[in-house]
Amino acid sequence: MNLLPAFQCHRPATLEEAVRLKAASASARFVGGGTDLLVNLRRGLGDPAALIDLTAVADLATIRRDGDELWLGAAVTLAGLARHPEVLAAYPALAEAALAVAGPTHREAATLGGNLCQDTRCIFYNQSEWWRQANGYCRKYEGDKCHVVLKNDRCYATYHGDIAPVLMVLCADCVVFGPDGVRRLNIAGLYREIGSDHLTLAPGEVLAAVVLPPAPKGRRAGYAKVRIRDAIDFPLAGVAAALTRDGDVIGELKVAITGSNSAPLAIATDVLSGRAWNDETAPILAQSLRKQASVLRTTVVGASYRRRVMQAVARRLVDTLWQQD
């Protein structure tokens, strides 16, 4: 590990001040718990002139109810999210996903906003300076060549966040604060399929909150994650699903995945509505996953295993939700 670059660290008390500080320095980065960013900076991945620590902005660290919506501040820690009574009562799948992130000590520091905005990962990127240099760097940082996909049309680094797919199936929105005011968009709108530029946030914008709509009656949701060490690792494959049963058939099924593409991905499941979930219909979901997921050689575990295990855990997750009372 390298020494950290010589940045200045600001600790603003308000979001307005945070955005003002960002506008003053093009290379400044926002930081929450630091479990993603600081580790990357020590590998030489980035050289910001300033860090803007959002954990001192008191408003961002709260969870509050606004009418029938639940607002989660971006600086709420994952541990705080996983033990919040309203989250546990109405959105247990979100608590489940938060508890599946890294280890217990990371979750005490890591924030919701930091998790959603975490950097994409790749075996050619998350390496030491000398390793990347020996390889001629890569398109994601300091280089111009993608070592994963040789046609080299973009960076294919993979998004491995656990929370985003769950928020997608729960139909959550996020609130973005910037120099030009506030905008609200759905979670999927926060991402795009470019590994080196996977967030749609404009320069100077910051993710301020996540808004959860009321949970529909009878909806069951869950998150399934496959990793090398169950206690700590990033997902090799992650599947979130939310299911509403309409008697003996599916009322609505939403599925989103992580660990496959450069952005978390909603899977097309419309054709399953109105049909029962069984051995005949389950392959339809597997086919959608095969069609949409684009698993590549971005982790030490082979792509074909990750493709197959994603279909297997998706089947098992929907089986469980289908049978839940």
Binding site: A6, C9, R11, G33, T35, V39, R42, D53, T105, E108
Partner: protein, 156 residues
């Protein structure tokens, strides 16, 4: 760039001038001289540098010192009172939970956080709380037994 950092460290108020880009781990080890907190993987993967911040476990290798402004930080050196080991430390000693000793400060601080939150945890809760702490002697049995032995009377 430097910042004046005021915090409570092992129960005592302190003020230091620290570089903005200094990690909590380097502040503790190099500036304060508390070398009980270990530098292991140095990348947030092994838990050897676990300290307590306002009673919660934190990785000192991926936390900036300046983020500790106004916080209460405790290291393994803060557990013994009047030269006597805490009950948890004593049990690590008696049940041979220390093994080679390198991961021990992190294990003890992660276990201390658990025992403060839940003084009487079961074996599964202990394993879950220590999930982010790696031992490369590859023996977790003695470590879990040490925490079990200390459960029910932490901090005494």
């Amino acid at each position: 760039m430097k910042t004046i950092l005021t915090l409570t460290l092992n129960g005592r108020a302190r003020t230091d001038l620290v570089p903005d880009n200094m990690l909590l781990l380097d502040y503790l080890r190099e500036q304060v001289g508390l070398t009980g907190t270990k530098q292991g993987c140095d990348g947030g993967e092994c838990g050897a540098c676990t300290v307590l911040v306002d009673d919660q476990p934190r990785l000192a290798c991926s936390t900036l010192a300046v983020q500790m402004q106004g916080r209460r930080v405790e290291t393994v050196e803060g557990l013994a009172k009047g030269g006597r080991m805490s009950r948890l430390q004593q049990q690590f000693h008696e049940k041979l939970g220390a093994q080679c000793g390198f991961c021990t400060p992190g294990m003890i601080m992660a276990a201390e956080a658990l025992l403060r939150r839940n003084p009487d945890p079961g074996r599964e809760e202990i394993k879950a709380a220590l999930a982010g702490n790696l031992c490369r002697c590859t023996g977790y049995v003695k470590i879990v037994e040490s925490v079990e032995a200390a459960a029910g009377g932490a901090g005494q």
